[in-house]
């Protein structure tokens, strides 16, 4: 064979040869193309989550994904597992019901900041307080992306949105601190730029026996970035420049301020009895032993 021919680059036949994504077996490919905008970080977060699911050793036959409403809420629709797309803010109570009905299930909540911490905020603090054995993955894009970029409970101070054209005068949540104060037993924050650390952390979160919470910072170039003169790349550059990794940092030191620095890492990883364990201990087994004694 002519060595020249060997080196000849062959154009892949895009029409006849379907290109496979390595996670195709976990995706409802019939629903692709997805709705996420160019430059959006949810796809990376979702991909990290699926990759972590695959490598975590969890029985995927017994794994379900629950989402609320919003761009990240589409996750449940794209994963080829049993999944539930709930009403706005109610992903965690749906997930709680599933876990209580069938404690053998691995229940993953994949949703956005608006869904989990504004309209559904109450459910988050109570699931964390109970140490309900769920993995809550929150894609934080600092805005309500799906409805066009309104101010959210996570929008940085002074950021511009469609409902705060002159800048947000409110302070955003420090989500890891909220999770810590509420009683979550695994708490971490990464960005989509830190895809490997994120995937590894999600794996640990999935394997964790109690309530685990992973916040994933993500650009929303179309509905958040555009109004703040930040392209998707600008935001990633900021993730690179402003983020420092500090595992076990105090949750009180994790406020979201891009003017200073953003701390990433795994901040909390402790064990305490889960809701189902304490329930069984207090209500089920106690009754059973009493019955036996009688």
């Amino acid at each position: 064979m002519n060595p020249k021919d060997q080196n000849k680059y062959e154009e892949p036949n895009m029409v006849d040869t379907p290109l496979h994504h390595p996670l195709d077996d976990l995706l409802r490919t019939d629903r692709i193309p997805h709705i996420w905008c160019p430059g959006c970080g949810i796809g990376t977060a979702f991909s990290a989550c699926l990759q972590a699911m695959r490598t975590s050793g969890l029985d995927l036959e017994k794994t379900v994904m629950v989402s609320g409403i919003g761009c990240s809420g589409r996750g449940a629709g794209y994963v080829k597992l049993d999944s539930y797309h709930t009403t706005h803010g109610r992903a965690i109570p749906f997930a709680t019901g599933m876990k209580l009905a069938n404690p053998d299930l691995n229940v993953v909540v994949f949703s956005g900041d608006g869904d989990l911490f504004a309209i559904g905020g109450n459910h988050f603090i109570h699931a964390a307080r109970r140490n309900m054995a769920l993995t809550v993955v929150c894609v934080n894009n600092f805005t309500y992306g799906m409805t066009g970029g309104q101010v959210a409970a996570t929008t940085p101070y002074q950021a511009k949105t469609t409902t705060t054209p002159r800048g947000n005068h409110e302070a955003p949540f420090n989500l890891p601190l909220l999770a810590y104060a509420s009683g979550a037993t695994l708490i971490a924050r990464w960005t989509i730029l830190h895809a490997r650390d994120l995937t590894e952390c999600l794996k640990q979160a999935l394997q964790h026996s109690g309530f685990s919470f992973v916040e994933i910072l993500s650009p929303c170039p179309v509905n958040y970035g555009r109004r703040n003169r930040q392209s998707a790349l600008d935001m990633l550059k900021m993730f690179q420049d402003k983020c420092i990794i500090q595992n076990n940092a105090s949750p009180a030191d994790l406020e979201m301020d891009f003017a200073k620095r953003i701390v990433l890492g795994k901040f909390v990883h402790v064990q305490r009895p889960t809701c189902i364990e304490t329930y069984d201990k207090t209500c089920r087994l106690a009754d059973f032993s009493k019955g036996k004694a009688a």
Partner: protein, 397 residues
């Protein structure tokens, strides 16, 4: 001034002209551009109001309830599941007699999810004690928002201004923005029937007992049943108030004249189609086509759904051969809510028309001219062949 803008922006300008003082809202499609426009007007200093970007619809109406209790003119807007999430506070606002105005940008409700238009959201909140006005185009949206404050504050009952999601909210039409000074003359500042006042502390809406009892001053105070009876009676009286406001509005702005029902080619019509919202304007083209065929048919758009203008309905419809009710909502397990109300309004009439019910456009299903023509032709030519059961248009089973 005439402009070309979307229905949501028309609503926002109406709220601005009404000089609402407190706006609390949560994003939901297709309402969002309305409150975005309001936040823009507030931030630009064009509107002297507080805009509160709350964390849920339940909170949005709670904020409005508190603002209204403190004597402010309050506004919120929502759609579909957002309206349902407000449900507890809807009943509260009506029971507490607070003249809040809310735009409901009509959208179908889940499950399964839909973002497109039908009327199930507002119709399902029919019995909350709110008044419901429906707009058919952008001019009516802006005019109705202004009238709604007048109505709400006259009878101390909250009002929903309903208009079709996307069909009106996101389409662009020319409309006139009334002159602000004239609106100020038409709609005076809000003087609450009662309001929280630190110098005269009050405890509002406390627990009532099943029977009446003396209050702290020894006067007999109404109990729950009396308070609810008064709400009902005041809402019935509001039917006349709607007509008075329409008359005054027409005198000032030269628009209106049909407070309850907007008829089109109905004078000599033996057959009358009736519906809520923008569909009645779409049906006008269908009526023209059927008139060309020689069918004596007309259409009425119902503007006021609660309180239900039963006398006006009976007056407009009795003596006709057939009334055809088109509905984008359903009382599941029975029939269309509007259909049932219209039949009930016609029951005391001496000459009762046959009434038909068509269900269409649920979850944004396209409504085609040919389908409307076919349905109306059938109702006109063989009225006795269609029974009391709702007929579904465009269903693909």
């Amino acid at each position: 001034m005439h402009i070309i803008e979307s229905g949501n922006v028309a609503a926002a300008y109406g709220v601005n002209l009404a000089r609402a003082q407190v706006i609390a809202a949560y994003p939901i499609t297709p309402q969002t551009p309305l409150t975005e426009k309001l936040s823009e007007l507030v931030d630009a200093g064009e509107m002297n109001a507080q805009y509160i970007p709350v964390e849920s619809e339940h909170s949005a109406l709670s904020v409005c309830i508190a603002a209204s209790s403190a004597g402010s003119r309050a506004f919120t807007a929502t759609s579909a599941n957002g309206l349902l999430y407000m449900n507890e506070q809807l009943h509260w606002a009506a029971g507490a007699r607070l003249p809040i105005v809310m735009c409901v940008v009509n959208r179908g409700i889940g499950a399964p999810w839909t973002v497109w238009n039908d009327h199930q959201d507002a119709i399902s909140q029919r019995d909350t004690g709110w008044m419901q006005l429906y707009a058919c185009d952008h001019q009516q949206i802006i005019d109705t928002v202004i009238q709604a404050y007048y109505l709400a504050e006259t009878v101390s009952i909250p009002v929903m201004v309903c208009y079709d999601g996307y069909i009106l909210s996101h389409t662009y039409m020319p409309f006139e923005i009334p002159d602000a000074k004239t609106v100020d003359m038409f709609l005076p500042p809000f003087t609450p029937a009662y309001a929280l006042e630190p110098s005269n502390p009050a405890n509002l809406n406390t627990v009532t007992l099943p029977d009446i009892r003396p209050d702290v001053r020894g006067n007999m105070a109404p109990a729950y049943m009396e308070i609810r009876h008064n709400l009902h009676m005041d809402m019935r009286e509001a039917i006349d108030v709607v007509a008075d406001i329409d008359k005054k509005f027409k005198k000032t702005f030269k628009r209106g004249g049909n407070p309850y029902i907007e008829p089109y080619r109905c004078d000599d019509a033996d057959f009358v189609a009736i519906c809520l919202g923008s569909l009645s304007y779409q049906l006008r083209d269908v009526i023209d086509l059927l008139r060309d065929e020689g069918l004596p048919v007309g259409v009425m758009g119902l503007r006021l759904f609660r309180p239900f203008p039963d006398q006006a309905i009976a007056g407009a419809l009795s003596g006709r051969k057939c009334v055809i009710v088109f509905e984008k909502a359903l009382s599941y397990g029975n029939q269309g809510a509007l259909y049932a109300d219209i039949k009930s309004a016609l029951y005391p009439c001496k000459s009762r028309p046959i009434v038909h019910n068509y269900i269409l456009g649920l979850g944004g299903r396209e409504i085609k001219t040919a389908q409307l023509i076919e349905a109306l032709r059938k109702s006109c030519k063989k009225p006795k062949e269609i029974g009391d059961t709702p007929v579904w248009i465009g269903l693909k089973l």
